[in-house]
């Protein structure tokens, strides 16, 4: 019985609760027990008590949700994968988490992640790496690796994460699930422990596109506590189109050729055939500046991070090193509290903002960012969506890239241009290569989530990906 229950998609389970065929508390309890069996290090914390009562008509039907540890949750550990925040209990809850709870998706647990969302493999967590449920010797991707692994392994019905340069889409791809990075501003950032404020955006990680649309629908909204939030101009629809007739798909050579593994390329080609079979048309579009995306990203994101992480100084919360004077207290706290990758990016960002270097680095990166956004704008004058692989490779081995930060950074080259342009993109499973999932990315203009979800749904039906291989 429990096994069957956990095989349901979140949307299906919610429907049963709303139809009175299933009790929300039984559902929560089943998932709580399942989450507690986590052996992937996907969770940092699992709820130890039933949630407050779910309102009978709640649209999400009480299906619990796993929350990336980056979201602040009142009275529940929220460390963003960092030792510097070990044991920190926020006095308030992030808007997105609060909205989901209100809509009937109570918190199931907090998921592991790369420290402060800086990483593409989850190996930068201060609390140990997460393992990929398809192959436990491999990484789940990052930074939302815990959320992706939990959903893929059937340790959570659905989850939320955050994406700054690919942190939802890349782990979704490597774990064989669906991950959406929405338009910047569509979901409140209030309560998300900031990495790079102008790029960070929350989004769902789910088993299928329908779950993705359903969860996303209840995350969006203009929040008076986040002045950069806009909400979405239209209601999120649950997709039901099975055809792609009339939709024009752009294939950018810059993001689909050099550096993409042959196995990934093959699955990608297959997806393009599916698109054509469903009535969509393919067209080559150029994104000439997208190959500079990684460079611009690794200036802008660390620059913002260097300021965002300054508050972790040992004065008010989290770790404090005992030291003789103020400067030593700052230094020792940050020396012991931060991991290597975080320190590396703080140094990069501090340098990029320094007097005399600002224009050469930060200023120039912002100009590249503008160019990348313009590239997308002109591409979307010709096509409705852009399609690329999500990650140039399948899940790589634990430890394989930890000594080579540049190789690690390049994991994100297909996903970085979209957040730089503020536009939405989804990753859906396209198939397997060497028994490992390959993600297909669909990107559209700002606020085109409904179009993206419809197309992703049609493609998903045609692909017929079976993710049960990762669920224990």
């Amino acid at each position: 019985m429990t096994g069957d229950l956990l095989d349901l998609t979140a949307a299906q389970a919610g429907q049963r609760v709303r139809a009175g065929e299933l009790s929300a508390s039984d559902l929560f309890e089943a998932w709580r027990e399942r989450a507690a069996t986590d052996s992937l290090n996907a969770y940092r914390w699992v709820a130890d008590a039933p949630p407050p009562e779910i309102a009978a008509g709640a649209p999400l039907g009480g299906v619990p949700v796993a929350i990336k540890d980056l979201f602040c949750t009142e009275g529940v550990p929220s460390a963003a994968g960092s030792r510097i925040l070990e044991g920190y209990l926020p006095p308030y809850t992030a808007t997105a988490v609060e909205q989901l709870a209100q809509a009937g998706a109570p918190m199931l647990g907090k998921t592991n992640m790369d420290e402060f969302a800086m990483g593409s493999s989850n190996e930068n967590s201060g609390f140990g790496p997460v393992m990929n449920p398809w192959d436990e010797s491999r990484v789940p991707g990052g930074s939302s690796g815990g959320s992706a692994a939990a959903v893929a392994a059937g340790l959570a019905p659905w989850a939320i994460g955050t994406d700054t340069g690919g942190s939802i889409r890349q782990p979704a791809a490597l774990c064989g699930i669906v991950g959406l990075k929405p338009t910047y501003g569509s979901i409140s950032r209030y309560g998300m422990i900031a990495f790079a404020s102008s790029l960070d955006q929350a989004g769902p990680l789910t088993r299928d596109v329908t779950d993705c649309a359903l969860l996303f629908r209840h995350m969006v909204g203009r929040d008076p506590l986040d002045s950069t939030s806009t909400g979405l101009p239209e209601e999120v629809r649950l997709p039901d189109q099975e055809r792609l007739d009339g939709l024009r798909f752009g294939v950018p050579p810059e993001l689909t050729r050099g550096g993409v593994d042959p196995g990934v390329a093959a699955v990608f080609e297959q997806s393009l055939r599916h698109i054509e079979e469903l009535g969509g048309t393919l067209e080559e579009v150029s994104l000439p500046h997208s190959d500079q995306g990684i460079s611009a990203y690794y200036v802008i994101a660390p620059a913002e991070a260097s300021a965002n992480l300054a508050r972790f100084d040992g004065v008010r919360y989290g770790l404090r090193a005992e030291a003789g004077d103020l400067a030593s207290m700052y230094e020792d706290t940050r020396e012991h509290g931060f991991g290597d990758e975080v320190k590396r990016r703080i140094m990069l960002g501090t340098y990029a903002l320094s007097s005399g270097y600002y224009d050469a680095y930060y200023g120039r990166a912002q100009r590249v960012r503008t160019k990348i956004a313009e590239d997308f704008r002109s591409a979307f004058e010709r096509v409705d969506l852009i399609v690329t692989p999500t990650s140039p490779t399948v899940a790589f081995g634990l430890g394989e890239r930890t000594d080579d930060p540049l190789a690690m950074y390049l994991s994100d080259f297909c996903t970085v241009p979209m957040p730089l342009a503020g536009i939405p993109a989804i990753s859906i499973p396209g198939g397997l290569s060497d028994e490992l999932p390959v993600g297909i990315q669909l990107a559209g203009p700002a606020f085109s989530e409904n179009r993206i979800l419809e197309a992703a749904y049609a493609l998903e039906q045609a692909i017929g990906f079976d993710g049960s291989g990762a669920r224990g």
Partner: protein
């Protein structure tokens, strides 16, 4: 040229101070700059805080619309051009009074720029947030050497407007004078308590000197912590003198920040966050630009009262007051308001006389108190001044009447009547003068011999006899008539 002439030339050279002021004004909005906490007025430490102003992880700032409104009002009152789109920056430095590790401020695109107040040009006006307050335990009273330091975040996040002048000030006295004008202007706007002792008005000065008449600027130093007008004047004077001595001795001024010690009047280099710091400014990604709509601008414009400088001008040109009196009445709006009510009560043109009575006798009587809080009615003052003009009461007696009016109120004519303070005149005064001249025969002889000063003795006798009710000029006339 040998060394000695050079030294002489240095010693004789006249220097001119060049001073720019940077003023921080705490706005009296209801809530803080970027969160919903109410502003603090001496509450228990850390009781006016929230996750946002404590800089807790995940929190975001939201710009206070009232602070923007006040900022626009200040910009307009100072004749600045509001920017169509100004942005916030992060100013990065580590200090325990700064919970985020950066201060949200404005940098290259401030709220308003290019204005003027009085004879000083305004460079810019921008919005920012105040830091928290540090309390250091231990003998030093500063963070270095403190046994422990505590942070009170009540003040953290209080809205500040920073006003930066052009280096147009040429003396310490002018700096203090101008700061008074700024304070009264801000008070008139109702946007701040503008209290220097309590820190709601803070002034730093950038001071340099240059050979008089030259156009280039010398190396400047920044003076901090001058928390009164007197200290500002003393601090700037001390710094100008120090720089002059340095240059006369052939030395050079080094750019540094100096801390003014009000107890000793000494200036000492500030070992602080200021030194050797690169603030790594960059645009604050958590906030959207301030783009005032026409509606916001109009609301700010229509909220502007008549400002002291304008009022002084009007009192001078429309009511014929001398500049000093006009400014005094304009800068103390309570006096100005009382004056205008009194002047309006009179048909005759007593404005100048009324103004003189207010800035002279009335201020002597009531000090800093608001005349509207006394028993004196503006109409009574106008009536009294009219009686003096008509000669029905002598000036010296009128002062006594004013004292009574301030303390007890009432009608001046009735007081004059009741206390028999009416001017002595006619037959009565003629008789008194005759008697006085008879009694002071010696003095009268001297007057006849051309000694005008001797008139005083006769005058004194008349005043004694009339208990001050006689009009001096009339007595003079009567004496001359009888010689």
């Amino acid at each position: 040229m040998g060394a000695a002439p050079v030294a002489d030339a240095l010693a004789e050279r006249a220097y001119e101070p060049v001073i720019g002021l940077e003023i921080h004004v705490q706005l009296s909005t209801r809530t803080k700059m970027f969160c919903g906490c109410e502003l603090s007025f001496g509450e228990q430490p850390n009781t006016r805080t929230c996750p946002v102003c404590l800089g807790l992880p995940g929190t975001l700032p939201v710009t206070n619309a009232e602070a923007v409104h006040f900022g626009l009002m200040i910009g307009m009152a100072l004749g600045c051009e509001p920017a169509p789109r100004s942005i916030f920056h992060r100013k990065n430095y580590f200090y325990p009074d700064l919970p985020k590790g950066y201060q949200i401020s404005q940098y290259d695109i401030p709220l308003a720029r290019d204005g003027r107040l009085g004879d000083i040009r305004i460079h810019r006006v921008h919005l920012e947030e105040d830091a928290a307050k540090l309390v250091h335990a231990g003998a030093s009273g500063r963070i270095h050497g403190a046994e422990a330091s505590a942070v009170d975040f009540n003040r953290g996040g209080t809205p500040l407007v920073e006003i930066v002048t052009e280096p147009d000030v040429r003396s310490a006295a002018q700096a203090a004078e101008w700061l008074r004008l700024l304070r009264v202007t801000l008070r008139q706007l109702g946007v701040s308590d503008v209290n220097m002792e309590e820190g709601s008005l803070r002034c730093d000065a950038n001071v340099s000197i240059r050979p008089a008449g030259e156009a280039t600027l010398g190396t400047k130093t920044e003076l901090k912590n001058m928390n009164s007008f007197r200290f500002l004047e003393r601090g700037v004077n001390a710094e100008v003198a120090r720089q002059e001595e340095l240059l006369r001795e052939g030395g050079a001024v080094t750019q540094e920040t100096l801390h003014f010690d009000p107890r000793t009047g000494a200036l000492s280099p500030l070992r602080s966050k200021e030194e050797a710091h690169d603030y790594r400014y960059f645009p604050e990604p958590d906030l959207v630009p301030i783009a005032p709509t026409e509606e916001m601008l109009e609301r700010a414009r229509s909220a502007l009262p008549e400002l002291p400088a304008q009022r002084a001008e009007r009192l001078e040109s429309d009511m014929g007051l001398v500049p000093d009196t006009a400014r005094l009445l304009a800068f103390r709006s309570d006096l100005g308001d009382f004056f205008e009510r009194a002047a309006a009560a009179r048909v005759g043109d007593d404005s100048k006389a009324i103004a003189n009575w207010i800035v002279g006798e009335l201020v002597a009587n009531i000090g800093d108190a608001d005349p509207a809080d006394t028993k004196l009615e503006p109409e009574s003052l106008a009536a009294l001044v009219g009686m003096v003009r008509e000669g029905t009461v002598a000036g010296s007696a009128a002062k006594d009447v004013l004292t009574t009016l301030v303390a007890e109120g009432g009608d001046p004519a009735e007081i004059v009547e009741a206390e028999n303070l009416g001017a002595a005149g006619g037959d009565e005064l003629a008789r008194v003068v005759d008697q006085a001249m008879a009694d002071q025969a010696d003095a009268v002889e001297k007057i006849r011999a051309g000694n005008d000063k001797a008139t005083g003795a006769v005058m004194g006798a008349v005043m004694r006899a009339t208990e001050g009710r006689a009009d001096g000029a009339e007595v003079q006339r009567l004496i001359r008539e009888r010689l």
